[in-house]
Every structure is written in structure tokens, then in C-alpha cells.
Symmetry: C2
Subunit: 235 residues, 2 copies
Amino acid sequence: VFGTCVDWRTSVARQARELGDRLGVGPVDWPAFADAWRARYDPQMENVRSGARPWATVDVLHREALDDVLAEFGLDEVSDHHRDELTLAWHRLDTWPDVVEGLTALRRHYVIAPNSNGHIALQVALARYAGLPWDAILGAELARTYKPEPEVYLRSVEALGLRPPDVLMVAAHGSDLDAAAACGLHTAFVPRPHEHGRPPTGKERPRGPVDVEASDFVELSEALRDLSRGEAARG
Amino acid sequence: VFGTCVDWRTSVARQARELGDRLGVGPVDWPAFADAWRARYDPQMENVRSGARPWATVDVLHREALDDVLAEFGLDEVSDHHRDELTLAWHRLDTWPDVVEGLTALRRHYVIAPNSNGHIALQVALARYAGLPWDAILGAELARTYKPEPEVYLRSVEALGLRPPDVLMVAAHGSDLDAAAACGLHTAFVPRPHEHGRPPTGKERPRGPVDVEASDFVELSEALRDLSRGEAARG
């Protein structure tokens, strides 16, 4: 979801800037602030994956990381109340322009659900904010660990009453798709070259092969339609 | 969901009759068949609640109970293939006529989710079949036990990032509401007098008080709107 469906960087930077303007702090490079916040995410999740700390939602992780990032940007004056408020910026993220149309088209023929590291409450807020038409909210919270741990993929597949080869994992991040493929899921790569506000480095691409690559979710829905027609034609 | 949102009895009886006609079995009293199938549900769940057997989805429970019910109705000739098929009748249940309109109105102001004993895959199928506009699919599978165990209510509340008093449990079954109230949730009773095809006995009603009683989901959405206006007026 983060990066694949929604443009977290622009959305978080905008909301942080709005709060900063309201509080009269700065000047601050708010996109760099969003990047610094996001950069703390994976090491935090690693502590949960490794068992060094028990399951904690990304709200908890975001709130802890925010303290560090505010200190890094010399913004220690921001109150706890405003820190709590800004943490919820991650519940209000704008989609890439193709996402709602593409998901709506996909949903005509497939069950669609996020398999995100974001917990259920965050995904519900995000879906309501952005109009994401999910059939169910799945993901890390069901397994109480974080991707790319196999349990996250397998628990989401199981929750749908399916087997891994019945499911297509869609992501802009190769590491996510490589982990899904290792669990036996099909994979689709949808690159999001503007996620980080700098040219892609190539590390976003999966190391292994994918079943489908599409430039956005509308093209993905068309590619899957063509694939199923091909399969029907082959009998 | 079962009984509160959907008319399981008529829907299951109709699908069983369709299969029976196709197979040329019977004559069978199909509504009585549906009742007999449903009657096995609570004792089966009790085995999970008590820990006598590990978590099993209602698909598994329905499939096991079906063997007993077919025997009771002298229908041992039905093949395993057709038993598996008929088990999925519980994924295709028609709503009471007010449900989609009422849920759609409720969703404008509230997050709505099933807190059902039905597992996620079944709820997804049901929502797609009947057009139930849930924000998320919650319920027994998250807690891996069955209502009225408190964990089921508390785990669903927690998944939404809420506390029990932030949540309203809606049901046609008093035992469900009494259990929710004991966990600190608000409660709304929506009687469904046609659920069992016989007059209500009074046992459907909650023993304790409820916050709201409404004759259907549209009236419930109006009652909640009036309640929130009253709270706003009281400041």
C-alpha cells in the first residue's frame, strides 16, 4: 500500500508543512522530513521481525520515530499533542492517480485486499480517506509480524480461504515481491518511479521473475484480463 | 451477520432445494433441513470455545454438520462433491430488505464491520454476493474462538484502534448483545422476527438493557443520527 497505492512522501510532507506553518516552526525541508521519517521504518520493523520487541502497530512505530526525526530537524518544541496529531498523517495519504480506477476494475473479477505492514485501523482510515474499494483488510496485523516475513503473506492467503498460487501479490517494491514469490504467490510489479522524489536506483526491482509487470493499476487490470482470456483460449 | 443481516434460513433452504431437485432426491422439508443444519452450529462452536477442539472455520463446521443432517433426512446418497458444494450455500445468503440501504447510511458517519462467527473468507464472499459495504472484515477468526467469548468482541474493537465504549454492537440476538455489553461495548437490538420461520419466543431479546432498539437498519441509522444530534445539542 505505502508507495504502491499511495504517495506517502508528498502526503506526509504536505501535512507536516501544514502543521509546521500553523505552529510557525521552520523553515524545514518537509519532503526531506518525510524521507527521514520513512527511513526509520524498516529498522523499527526489524526489531519486531527479530522478536527483539513484541508486536507494535505502525502507529506506535511512527510515533516513536517522529520523536527522533523532530530532534534531527531541530523541532524539539513540538508538543506531544501535535506529535500525536502528526502521526495520523499516515492515515491520510493520497493515491497515485490510477489506483481507485484500477482497483475498481480489478474488483469486478477478483477479490482485492491490502497485504500491508499497516495495521487494520490505519488501513480502514486510509481506505475511507482515499476511497480504496477493498473487499477485506488483511496484512501484517493478522500475523503480528512484518513483511517480508513469510507468515504475513501466508496468513493473508489463508484468511481468504485460498492457496498461495491462487493469489497475486502486487507491489512497487521488489523485496516484497521476492518474498511473496518465495511463499508460492504469483507476483505483479507496478513501479512507482516518483515514490522517493529522486530517480529510481534499480533496487526497487524484484531480483526474481514476476508474472506481470504493468505501469499502473489500470494497465494491470487490463493485463490480467488479457491473461485470463489467454488461459480460457488455451482451455 | 447470520440472522441480523442475512436471512440464512430461506437462502439455505432454497439452495438445498435447488440441489435436491437437480439430484432428484426427496421430497424433503427444506426449511426444516436448514433449521436442523443451523441447530448443530452452537454445539459445534462450543467445542472450539471450550478448547475441546482447535480453531476451525464455520466452513469446516458446516461441512461436518451437513453429514449428520443428510443422514437425519435420509439423504446419505448425496456425494462428497455435492456436500462440498452445498456447504458453500452459507457464502450466498440474501440480506433482509433494509440491510444494504441501512449499512450504506450508517457508513456515511461510522466505520462498519461484521463481528461475526463467520470467518473472513466467508464474510468476503457474502459481502460480494449481497453488496454489504463493510469497511473491514472482523470477527471470530481474529481471536480464533467463537462468540460469545469476550476475546472476539475485544479483538475486533482493538483491530479498529478503538476502546469498547467507542463501539456499537448491533445484533438480532440478545445473547450476543449481553456478551458485548459485558465487554463494555454499546449495544443495539434489531429484532428479526422472521429469522426462524416461527413466531419469536422472547429468548431472542437481550436480558440486559440496550442503548438502542430499532426495527431495521434504516431505522437504526436514523436513531443514531438523532442520538448524535442530541449529544451535540447537549454540548
